[in-house]
Amino acid sequence: MRPFEYVSPTTKAQAVSLLGASWGGTEILAGGTDLLALMKDDIVSPKRLVNIKNIRDLRGISSSPQGLRMGALTTLADLADDAGIKKNYPALAEAAIEAASPQIRNMATLAGNLCQRPRCWYFRNGFGLLPKDETGNELVADGDNRYHAILGNEGPAKFVSPSTIVPVLIAYEAKIRLEGPKGKRELPLEKFFVIPKSENEREHDLGPNEIVTEVVVPPVPNAKIAHYEIRQKDVFDWPLAVAAVALKMQGSNVESARIVMGYVAPVPWMSPEAEQALTAQPLDQETAQKAAEAAVKDAKPLSHNEYKVQLARVAVKRAILKAASGGAA
């Protein structure tokens, strides 16, 4: 790790003013499980680290008739252990348990999970987010892309969005709140993720001197919600495909659906096609299969990841059937 100066503000306003107006000079330290690894590998080399863990306003989980509020510093362990979340948002608690090992869950924060950088091995080895060789050829398209995107990969971004709890948060219609020098703003969580088109863009709609302050989820939805991950290892592994679904029912038919895939595209991938396929349909093997087909209809696998199309299809189908049979285990 290269030397840096360390500051530990106690208010959000202090934190914002201690951050730089452009990327590169400063980084935000929360749990540190991603950032310190990036710094050890020289992927980022900040001159200043802004530790936000002493900012009280960024902590805490609270439930009210308006819904659930989770402070940016909520750890994955807090999410997994919170009685209110386990009772009212069980698919979120389950996703938080599945996200990492006990050690990481004790350290990693919610905001850090949303802002973690992609796991793409070209990026992690210093070739950039949109890796190219000296002649401008894209490295991922011609290289080892077995874990890369099958959707939304037409541009130079071929990595996959790395959070495993984001798809289920989007299924729950979560919103993210940010604070920066121009004040506060709130976005639907799905709008926080963007596909970068050039190397100086990031994969989040986040300014270099903005911080994530909290995530809010509307009141417990009257919907069937489930989360499903496919991994090589059963525990503590990056998934190959993730699906989260929220199904609002009218009688025994689906009134409306939210279907979100993870690990298939540079952003969490919402599938209006799958949602459409399920609308006004009963929930059974056949309709789940049709929705899953629709979800991957436009997939364009790269040279080494065609297998992910089938995994994504299966993840969507199983998430729908899991939701139909009562959601989180």
Partner: protein, 211 residues
């Protein structure tokens, strides 16, 4: 530090990678203005208040490790793991992946297991840090360590201290863990020799005894 070896070439090591000097950085960061103090750390003004700035040079730090106070002057970039091993001769926690993956550096901070490689020493100050060295009392192995011995739960032994701390934390939370609790509770520790069966047996033995 070894990873600062100038001979280690890196794709991002372009000619301008030295970046702006600290002074330039403070200038361009706009709102922040350096205000040197007579003694102690420097400070910057942030949102109308002075916030102390530590480093990049050495900073006096104080830790509570296994109930004892330890002091050292360290740069902010030093991890808790490197501080334990290099400053305080507590070499039980091992540096293996150094990337929050393998679990060999597992220690307890405020009684919760964490990867010491991924905590900065500066942020572990004034917190209760517990390492594997605290388990053996008066020359006698902790029952957990004894169970590792009796069940042949280590081979080369390099991952063992991390596993022992992770097991201790798991047993503190679940005195009678199910096989599923054990599998999930130890998912953050890897053993390349593959001693998992022995570790599971040791845990099963302790679970029956209720240690």
């Amino acid at each position: 530090m070894d990873d600062d070896d100038p001979n280690l070439k890196h794709p991002s090591d372009k000619q301008d990678n030295s970046g702006v000097s600290r002074r330039d950085f403070l200038k361009i960061s706009g709102i922040s203005v350096a205000v040197p103090l007579v003694a102690g750390p420097q400070a910057v003004m942030a949102a109308g208040q002075q916030v102390p700035v530590y480093g990049p040079g050495k900073v006096p730090m104080e830790f509570t490790i296994n109930g004892k106070v330890h002091k050292a002057s360290l740069e902010p970039r030093v991890t808790l793991l490197d501080a334990l091993r290099d400053q305080f001769e507590l070499t039980g926690a091992k540096r293996v992946c150094d990337r929050a993956e393998c679990g060999s550096c597992t220690v307890l901070v405020e009684n919760k297991p964490v990867y010491a490689c991924s905590v900065l020493a500066i942020e572990a100050q004034h917190k209760a840090i517990t390492t594997v060295e605290s388990l053996m009392q008066a020359g006698k192995l902790h029952p957990l360590q004894q169970a590792f011995v009796e069940n042949d739960a280590s081979q080369c032994g390099f991952c063992t201290p991390g596993f022992v701390v992770a097991c201790k934390s798991l047993l503190d939370k679940h005195p009678h863990p199910t096989p599923e609790d054990i599998r999930r509770g130890l998912s953050g520790n890897l053993c390349r020799c593959g001693t998992y069966a022995g570790i599971r047996q040791a845990m099963a033995q302790l679970s029956q005894k209720g240690a």
